[in-house]
């Protein structure tokens, strides 16, 4: 930095910002890409089956894979509509 720089506004620490953004996006993408390829199709077919019996929203069916120790868990959650 020279004495002339004193009169210029200092840029923020952008490296730190880059790191924070990357830590978040990389964690998110690792989760998404490590999921098995059949997941979207499984979700679609499950939705069709459930809809035969209950009229649910497409968003009401959540299918996730997460690891717990050495085990992989397939989580299925279906939100049923309110009884109106």
């Amino acid at each position: 930095m020279s004495i002339f720089d004193l009169f210029r506004p200092r840029p923020k620490n952008t490296a730190k910002l880059a790191k924070e953004r990357l830590l978040i996006i990389v964690a998110q993408e690792r989760g998404a890409h490590s999921a098995p390829d059949f997941l979207p199709l499984l979700k679609r077919e499950l939705l069709e089956v459930i809809r035969k019996y209950v009229n649910v929203d497409p968003d009401a069916v959540q299918v996730n894979v997460r690891s717990d120790g050495d085990q992989e868990l397939l989580e299925l959650s279906v939100t049923l509509p309110d009884k109106a």
């Binding site: 930095m1 020279s2 720089d5 840029p11 490296a15 790191k19 830590l23 993408e29 890409h33």
Partner: protein
Amino acid sequence: MGEIIVVTSGKGGVGKTTTSASLACGFAKRGKKTVVVDFDIGLRNLDLIMGCERRVVYDFVNVINGDCTLKQALIKDKRFDNLAVLAASQTKDKDALTQEGVAKIIDDLKAEFDIVICDSPAGIERGAFFAMYFADRAVVVVNPEVSSVRDSDRVLGIMASKSRRAEQGLTAVKEHLLLTRYSADRVEKGDMMSIADVEEILGVKVIGVIPEAPEVLSASNSGVPVILDEQADAGLAYTDAVARLLGEERPMRFVEPKRKGFFQRMFGG
């Protein structure tokens, strides 16, 4: 049996071919019988960086198609007896590479050479896939910059799940990062991510740090891999990286900001 090392990155323009050429020369200099293979089908460039572009007669796809033998397609380096180059084809046919064809070439090279370096194209398409599929080790070239780091993570993920080692349930591909275009001055100012930052984000250790330097461009201009420039920091940094890949301990050099004189500090520059 030789070891297969893929030089990859995901993102283009980060220095894969420069790195492949320098590592190949470095291993040859250390007495290893080495071959470096260009997987960038359609966009041949390794030959230019190696300085053998006018001696390419046959290429990778010619060998796959049986137009010539593997031996005929290998270009002997003029500087090292124990170094050869296999050029990429310039065909526009995207399906020129077949799994069996590539597997046969890789196995033959592995039987003949100590080190087989696979120079991957950018992206995650066919050429890049085959470059990494057979690897025992991976050198992921990364610039300390957001898009390069993100793409590196994708490539690491693909390698962990889709490589031959992963498919056959063998020990995983050994992963290393090689940071290029590193500027210690900019890291100190907070404009560039540090070695530790990149290691933390990707969860892989750095095997070498190549400083941003004008000699890298001069080296490719003249077709002499920068590792052969013993005056250049970048060349010495590649020499260190080769030593580390061979299992030696070397402290990282050129990762501290250059100390400036009084006038430079006062008046900039």
